[in-house]
């Protein structure tokens, strides 16, 4: 076995189940090399140390907000803002779903269980957005608003200074009062409100998204985000409903939904049902980021 092969098989065993050939390489390596054995043991411990925690999303949102605030105070640094604005907007639309899944669902973005499922979901979303972008669909969709565009006859003459001001004012009015109807836009708006700490605004936007586009992927993830906000506000019964709806639909963030369900039940004092939800979580997602906490709660609440 080459040096690289022995190094890489130690990485592979931490990522996936090894093939029989790889196992044949690993065993003699661990027997022969003390360093390899130490690195193998240490790798297991390091992987455990990286487990996500329930309050990670708040920490990340706070830090992201602080860094963004600093960026806001600094002047823009390049011409990319003008030349690539459209490309960036499309990319942001594609990433809004992924970023919210990470922040809104307990920081599980690639950090815990169902990595493949999540990756598939977000990649699929991004692919769809890329494909739409190529066809020019996303740009037009993003322009949809609830506010009627002013008719051409009512538009001011922009060739005069007064006309320019009036046109700018009209544009600002449309921007300020626009309510997006596109599911991706609604989802992005709701996430932005949540990250800004506007829980009520975020919940309203999530509810609107679920009402207007119940069959979309965005609405599905919105149910989970809404449930988390409801639980944080203390409305465990309402939160439980949305966690269960999400679970029933079989979304990629099933571990988070089950964890939320168990916490909602716990808040409502329904201990036996909570224990059942925790056991279900461990049975379905034994390697999820919530597994350790679930085991602890089960152990603490053992009759």
């Amino acid at each position: 076995m080459t040096d690289d092969e022995s190094t890489d098989v130690l990485c592979a065993v931490r990522r996936r189940a090894l093939s029989p050939e790889e196992r044949e390489k690993l065993e003699p390596l661990l027997t022969r090399s003390l360093e390899a054995r130490v690195l193998h043991y240490a790798g297991w411990a390091f992987d455990g140390d990286g487990d996500a925690r329930a309050d990670d999303d708040h920490l990340i949102a706070r830090i992201a907000h602080a860094v963004a605030a600093r960026a806001e105070q600094a002047p823009a640094r390049s011409v990319w803002h003008t030349g690539r604005r459209r490309i960036g907007t499309l990319a942001l639309a594609a990433l809004a779903l992924a970023s919210s899944a990470a922040a809104g669902a307990g920081v599980v973005y690639w950090a815990g269980a169902s990595a493949t499922e999540r990756s598939a979901t977000t990649d699929e979303a991004a692919r769809e957005h890329r494909s739409s972008a190529l066809n020019g669909e996303v740009t037009s969709a993003h322009r949809k608003t609830d506010v009627a565009e002013p008719s051409s006859s009512s538009l001011p003459d922009v060739d005069t200074p007064d006309g320019e001001r009036a046109a700018a004012s009209a544009t600002a009015h449309v921007k300020k009062h626009a309510k997006p109807t596109d599911p991706a836009d609604l989802f992005r708006q709701a996430n932005a409100r949540r990250l800004a700490g506007d829980s009520n605004g975020a919940m309203a936007a999530y509810r609107r998204l679920i009402r207007l586009h119940p069959a979309t992927r965005e609405a599905s993830v919105a149910q989970l985000s809404l449930a988390k906000l409801l639980l944080a506000r203390g409305d465990a019964a309402e939160a439980l409903k949305f966690f269960r709806v999400y679970s029933a639909a079989g979304g990629a963030l099933g571990a988070e939904a089950l964890w939320g369900e168990s916490q909602s039940l716990g808040r409502m004092g329904r201990r036996e049902e909570q224990r059942k939800a925790l056991r279900r979580l461990l049975a379905r997602y034994p390697k999820s980021a919530y597994a350790k906490a679930a085991r602890k709660q089960l152990s603490d609440s053992a009759p």
């Binding site: 990522r15 065993e27 054995r37 193998h40 043991y41 992201a64 960026a71 990319a91 942001l92 977000t122």
Partner: protein, 212 residues
């Protein structure tokens, strides 16, 4: 115990994702100071930064939060050096590794003791693997962390990316922007230093006995 060790299977995530296309466009906007892009990017990268910092410092280290914040503030500036040779996630992991390693070195220079490598009761109570294995794994992790403080920075970086994050030689080479042969050389030297430490570590006696 060795048999049990061999049966340990990943309990973290699958292969690190490569989402280069999507994140690159966002990274460009973040690099240019677009606050919305910075926020979105950090929400995406945040879990990775946390994961890396917890691995390098230890999950109970009091400076985990500060280290993540320091790494997050460093990312927009570091993006100017990002050329797309590796995935953005790996690039961010490297930034976090260096931030956390620097914190360890500062502590070491100030002769402050890092928190003990305590074995969590939860891990032992879980019963799989056995308490002995958990204790040995914790001792090994502590040894690697201590080694990071004394290695030259380039070797420490390569060892952290490989041992703590599970990067392959090729992935370390991409993330650090050096040839694979250089990575091999750095890892070889780091492993030699590791072996010296193992020899003098009484906590690893079981491992040494298994080696015969």
């Amino acid at each position: 115990m060795l048999a049990e060790l061999r049966s340990l299977i990943v309990r973290d995530s699958g292969p690190l994702p490569r989402r280069r296309d999507e994140l690159d466009a966002l990274a460009i906007r973040a690099r240019d100071g677009d606050p919305g892009a910075v926020r979105t990017l950090l929400v995406i990268l945040g879990p990775h930064l946390l994961r890396v910092v917890r691995r390098v410092l230890g999950p109970t280290h009091p400076e985990v939060e500060d280290a993540v914040q320091e790494a997050a503030f460093a990312i927009p500036d570091a993006l100017a050096r990002y050329r797309g040779d590796c995935s953005l996630v790996h690039f961010a992991c490297k930034v976090a590794v260096n931030t956390a390693t620097n914190i360890r070195r500062r502590e070491s220079a100030a002769k402050r003791n890092a928190p003990d490598e305590r074995v969590s009761a939860d891990e032992v109570a879980a019963g799989d693997p056995s308490p002995d294995t958990v204790v040995q794994a914790r001792a090994c992790a502590a040894l690697v962390r201590e080694l990071l403080d004394s290695l030259p920075p380039a070797q420490a970086e390569a060892l952290a990316l490989h041992a703590m994050l599970g990067f392959t030689v090729a992935e370390v080479a991409e993330a650090t922007d050096v040839p694979a042969e250089t990575v091999r050389s750095r890892l070889r030297l780091a492993k030699r230093a590791l072996r010296d430490r193992i020899e003098g570590n009484p906590r690893l006696v079981v491992l040494k006995e298994e080696a015969g």
